[in-house]
């Protein structure tokens, strides 16, 4: 995979993360999120992006931690994925970084796997590390574990055929 030239960076607590800037559709602040009962915990719910319904994912939860900023004060990084646009909820956004000349290191094996699985590479920058997220891994569909309402998560259980 070729290294992206521009990286959009953002923060979850003190960790600086980045995705390919080209994959970012837009960045929003303080959106209303409507919860969906019965989803796995990192799914915060749905939000209305100009009439489009977008799934909102708690990135802190995906990384194995907990969100410390109130949802109303969080930023939404809306990324284009195979599953359509998905909003990643982050604490704050950072600058766009030109990474053309940077060579990423692979994530260290000792990294917490919950985070390590989401990271495709690590950039060493002065005084800080920049973790580049694999956007598909970070937004993958996770099955409910045991705590679902009905125990079974049947794929394609939507009664009304997809349309509109």
């Amino acid at each position: 995979m070729s290294t992206p030239h521009l990286l959009a960076t953002f923060y979850v607590q003190d960790t600086q993360l980045a995705i390919d800037a080209a994959a970012v559709q837009e960045v929003l602040y303080g959106q209303r999120v409507f919860p969906v009962p019965g989803t796995e915990p990192s799914i915060l719910g749905l939000m209305n992006l100009r009439g489009q319904v977008v799934t909102t994912i708690d990135l802190a939860a995906r990384m194995g931690g907990e969100r410390t900023v109130a949802l109303e004060e969080c930023f939404h990084v809306v990324a284009r994925t195979i599953e359509g646009p998905v909003s990643l909820v982050v604490d704050n956004v950072g600058p766009v970084v030109d990474a053309s000349d940077l060579v990423p290191d692979p994530p260290p094996d000792t990294m917490d796997p919950r985070l390590g699985d989401l990271v495709s590479g690590v950039h060493q920058r002065e005084g800080t590390l920049l973790l580049v997220l694999d956007i598909e891994a970070a937004t993958s569909v996770i099955d409910l574990d045991g705590e679902s309402l009905d125990g079974a998560v049947a794929p394609g259980a939507d009664g009304i055929p997809a349309d509109a």
């Binding site: 409507f34 019965g38 989803t39 749905l46 319904v53 799934t55 309402l149 259980a157 009664g159």
Partner: protein, 725 residues
């Protein structure tokens, strides 16, 4: 753009146009059989085949060209009157149409027609042209598959508005319509939905008396948006003739295969339906018509014997009615043998023997929608493998439609489909659960009831029920769906019961508040939230908030309400199957310290009766009940070895048994009603009557009683009948 791309584009256009032209040919051939000498029809058919031949030669599709050429030759002789058309010729020509279609499809997939070999068909076409004897018809490449048309890509879904117009010979219609990418139409619909929402928001900010010109402008915006919405929705509407167009050919072929004579009469083909729905009913409709030809219409001898004209007729009629599209498929065939259906249903364990006796004809007819019941005497190649009608019903259910059967033996069968006009925008009931807005598709809503002291939510154990006109309506509380069913004891004394019909089952869904009915734009759920049965989609409301749409079918599935979801309910909502397969719903009670259970299917009602109101008559304990006397049976009478029941707590909890052959109601007294439990009885330990089996429920041994056996023990009349028989 490279040359190759351009070339590919030409090929794509050629395929789409040719497939459309071939669809039209099907229809023309069937008409041609009625008027075999019509020069106009023959000319039109000839031109179509000729142009396919010309283009395929230009594009270097050799096999396609050979086939079209042979067909063209024969057609030119027919057109010039040098040959007369006969049935065999028509069949061969129709096969040619099928083969052309298959070859085009192959080109679409593989970019070449080299794999397609039509040598035998070409030879037959040539033999017809040379008036030579022709080898036996019916054993060719394509005729084994009666529905090659179905396999073809949905090229016709972006058809010009009316095939009927185009087929009248002159076709200037092409100039007044253009091809539009379906994705673009969908995108347009999305944009309009967004515009509607923006309009709704702006409307909220309108303040009276600020500036009349602003007011006028918003009003104008309002009107234009509504008009635009309607216009865009109209672009998605397509006439049903697109589905009906294929049927004459199909009926003709099937009738030939089955050696029957069948006329098809179609009306209302100009009725329009959203394109998604049109696609969704394509297969069910095909299946129904196929069934009518294969099973409904008798063969000529059979019809003669029944004093009917030799040729059977299938009528298809479509029309708008009450915001829905209604399609009726009627045949004047032999109708359903309801006794046989009931017999088979009992044999298959779908319904209980006594249920079959009490079911109405309409209810029995509905049994054909049950998986595994096929009424054909023999399995034929056309249909009758015992699958089908249940799939038809499911497909119709899924798009929020309904299907109904009326049948009369010897006279015919009528199937009625009711299909919503569009899925993109549906009417839905807006309600509040847990301070959040949810929507329920209006099509599934039967009625609404307010919960209050006079009509409360009652608990059987921990299972909530509601008494609705004397029947027990199983309830599903939003908490069961949205909050893991926790704190069932705390069910609020207030709220609304939305009676929902789904999967042949009525149940009440308890919500906190019902707000209004509104038209909503359905947005499909994305992968992350798709796996949840309870929701069918989401929508954006007027204030910009996102709300989830409940899936009525999913609700029944996720709730444990599946009292065998496929069994059409014979009468009461709690009436489960009488068969012994899978799990049964059991009412678990405490009787003299023993845990016993009765299948819910054996119980009609639960009553509380004061001991004071009991009377004694002819040695029995009875009570006035619904205008007649109900026998009240204490535990020691029906369950030997139970301590005398004087100790049963007041008021008495009485289970009213489902009525058997005799009509006297019987009520069993129990001490406490504990819960409703789903259990599989197959693995239980058999025991002495009236105990059917003993099974562990919640770790405690529970004796499952057999209602029918108890009735027999108590009812000397039915016991006598047994001895006598």
């Amino acid at each position: 753009m490279s040359d190759i791309d351009e070339f590919q584009e030409i090929i794509d256009d050629f395929i789409v146009e040719s497939l459309e032209a071939l669809d039209q040919l099907d229809e023309e051939f069937v008409r041609l059989e009625q008027e075999p000498t019509s020069v106009e029809l023959l000319g039109s058919i000839f031109r179509t085949v000729h142009s396919i031949k010309g283009t395929s030669s230009f594009l270097d599709f050799v096999e396609l060209e050979k086939l079209a050429h042979a067909g063209e030759n024969l057609l030119s002789l027919l057109r010039d009157g040098e040959l007369g058309l006969d049935v065999h010729m028509t069949t061969t020509l129709l096969e040619m149409v099928d083969s052309l279609r298959a070859t085009l499809a192959a080109i679409q997939d593989t970019k070449t027609d080299a794999e397609q070999d039509h040598a035998r068909l070409v030879k037959r076409l040539e033999a017809h042209a040379a008036s030579e004897p022709v080898e036996e018809v019916g054993t060719t490449e394509t005729s084994a598959d009666p529905a090659p048309a179905d396999a073809e890509p949905a090229a016709s879904s972006e058809d010009t508005p009316s095939q009927a117009e185009a087929s009248t010979g002159d076709r200037p219609t092409a100039e007044s319509s253009i091809r539009v990418d379906v994705d673009l139409l969908d995108r347009l619909m999305d944009l309009v939905s967004e515009l509607v929402l923006a309009r709704n928001q702006i409307r909220q900010y309108r303040i009276d008396g600020v500036d009349p010109s602003y007011d006028n402008a918003t009003q104008q915006l309002d009107l234009l948006t509504s008009d635009l919405q309607q216009a865009v929705m109209a672009t998605r509407m397509q006439p049903l003739s697109q589905l009906f167009g294929r049927l004459p050919r199909m009926v003709r072929d099937l009738a030939h295969t089955c050696d029957k004579q069948v006329q098809l009469q179609v009306t209302g083909g100009d009725t329009e339906l959203d394109r998604t729905l049109l696609e969704a009913i394509r297969d069910p409709l095909t299946h129904i018509v196929r069934n009518s030809v294969d099973h409904g219409i008798e063969d000529p001898a059979g019809r003669r014997a029944a004093d009917k004209p030799e040729s059977g007729t299938i009528w298809i009629d479509a029309r708008h009615e009450g915001g829905q599209v209604m399609i009726e498929i009627t045949d004047n065939g032999k109708g359903f043998d309801l006794d046989r259906i009931a017999e088979k249903a009992v044999a298959a364990g779908v319904i209980a023997q006594d249920a079959a006796q009490t079911m109405g004809t309409r209810e029995i007819a509905q049994l054909v929608f049950h998986p595994g019941l096929s009424t054909a005497e023999e399995v034929t190649t056309v249909s009758g493998r015992g699958v089908g009608m249940d799939v038809v019903k499911r497909s119709i259910d899924e798009i929020g439609g309904q299907i109904d059967i009326e049948t009369e033996m010897g006279t015919g069968t009528k199937l009625t489909l009711r299909i919503p006009l569009t899925l993109a925008i549906i009417p839905a009931l807006r309600c509040i659960c847990d301070d959040q807005t949810y929507l329920i598709p209006q099509l599934n809503v039967v009625e609404l009831h307010q919960v209050d002291e006079s009509s409360p939510v009652e608990l059987i154990g921990s299972t909530p029920v509601h008494r609705l006109r004397g029947d027990l309506l199983p309830l599903l509380h939003w908490r069961d769906v949205l909050a893991d069913g926790a704190h069932r004891e705390d069910y609020d004394a207030e709220g609304f019961i939305v009676v929902i019909h789904a999967h042949g089952l009525n149940f009440g869904f308890v919500v906190d508040e019902v707000v209004s009915t509104e038209e909503i734009v359905v947005k499909p759920l994305r992968a992350h939230v798709k796996g949840i049965d309870a929701f069918a989609g989401s929508t954006v409301l007027g204030d910009g908030s996102v709300a989830l749409i409940f899936d009525p079918i999913g609700l029944t599935a996720s709730s444990g309400l599946t009292i065998d979801s496929n069994a059409e309910q014979a009468s009461g909502p709690l009436n489960s199957t009488g068969g012994s397969h899978d799990t049964e719903s059991l009412l678990v009670c405490d009787v003299g310290g023993r845990r016993v259970a009765l299948p819910l299917s054996d119980i009609v009602r639960l009553e509380s009766i004061d001991r004071d109101s009991l009377d004694h008559a002819a040695g029995d304990t009875v009570v006035q009940y619904r205008g007649s006397l109900m026998r009240i049976v204490e535990p020691q009478r029906y369950l030997p070895g139970t301590p005398y029941g004087e100790d049963s707590p007041e008021p008495l909890s009485v289970l009213v048994l489902r009525e058997g052959y005799s009509t006297d109601p019987v009520g069993l007294v129990v001490d406490h009603i504990l819960e409703v439990h789903q259990a599989n009885l197959d693995g239980g330990r058999p025991a002495d009557p009236p105990v059917r089996v003993s099974i562990p429920i919640d770790g405690l041994v529970t004796d499952v009683l057999d209602g029918a056996v108890i009735r027999r023990q108590l009812d000397p009349k039915s016991a006598f009948r047994e001895v006598a028989s």
